[in-house]
Symmetry: D2
Subunit: 117 residues, 4 copies
Amino acid sequence: MTTPVPAPGLPPDSLDDLRERLRRFAAERDWEQFHTPKNLAMSVAIEAAEIMEHFQWLTAAQSADLDAAARHEAALEIADVLLYLVRLADALDVDMVAAAREKIELNARRYPARHGL
Amino acid sequence: MTTPVPAPGLPPDSLDDLRERLRRFAAERDWEQFHTPKNLAMSVAIEAAEIMEHFQWLTAAQSADLDAAARHEAALEIADVLLYLVRLADALDVDMVAAAREKIELNARRYPARHGL
Amino acid sequence: MTTPVPAPGLPPDSLDDLRERLRRFAAERDWEQFHTPKNLAMSVAIEAAEIMEHFQWLTAAQSADLDAAARHEAALEIADVLLYLVRLADALDVDMVAAAREKIELNARRYPARHGL
Amino acid sequence: MTTPVPAPGLPPDSLDDLRERLRRFAAERDWEQFHTPKNLAMSVAIEAAEIMEHFQWLTAAQSADLDAAARHEAALEIADVLLYLVRLADALDVDMVAAAREKIELNARRYPARHGL
């Protein structure tokens, strides 16, 4: 994997930092054996469903008006998806931020803006 | 929202950059009305399932040995989850990287390392 | 909805029976207001993820060799998906068994059998 | 597996019929090797997400007011979940209707009815 190394003195990108923490976390627990792309893809989907549980019975308006405690609970579920997503991208040795930029470009062509801003 | 502003001359964090791109993307298409937390949570789960489709019938070993084309396809699906996740965190006005670091700390206490490294 | 009524003396179809039980269950709790097709579709997906949790870290072979207690736990998760699926089909007023037979026919044409039996 | 056999002259239960069709379908294509409980659990979740795609951007009211064509499309997605669910229950050798009745009883105790009907 070509791990981008920040120039000396620059802060590391937040996703690079999470990736390194997760590598250590898995290594210290002998969990690498479980972290196949197939299993990690399941984990991403399982955690994504846990985000939905917070919104399942809310109206659209209620979902946009959570109090601070509920927002923090949702943030921790979002975090779980992010962590498994970072780990999956690492297991596949792909750069998900580069892929995300590519996808935005693809979507911009697929769905042209209706007006300028 | 307290958007972290990088110091002049420093590269923006990759997730901050994606968040800004997605805000513009939605605004230019009048899509903000659809981007309720409830709908975005569904989108995250839908795209997570599309990642799984790439691994559904593969063995664990096959999933860890994709060729470059298949890895790129998977990366674009991972990107879709990341983009909706960034957008959901923005809609809820939460810092998902801070939440991810908090979650790693919680998990470290919950699952103590079996040995040092 | 054209609810099939079994002839007198015949046992009701199991799915018809579940549908009726669920109608009563929701009515007795004033839950019909929450049971929109959109919310029920989310519920099906959330419960489907809970099935996956039972298999997430197992090998394919382990997943096929559960003990009786684990099989019962999995059966109760499968039941949750089935119940929401029955409720969703009822909310949409569609016959999911007829649709399932139609889908088997479509799949038989899409994926021809490689050999007779 | 204790396959319930309907008495002579009685119609088979719809889920028993689907289970038998799916057994033949898989056998005729040599697909049994892929139909591990782990893989089938993924399939249920993937198809559940495809149901959600039909409701993702609809309001609650719109989701309850689909036209006939949209309802049929949704029915075919519901059918996919049902088929994989039947297949998963068969692979695990569990009776999902019995489990569903057990779950309704558990839920009735967990969520007492607010009023009689």
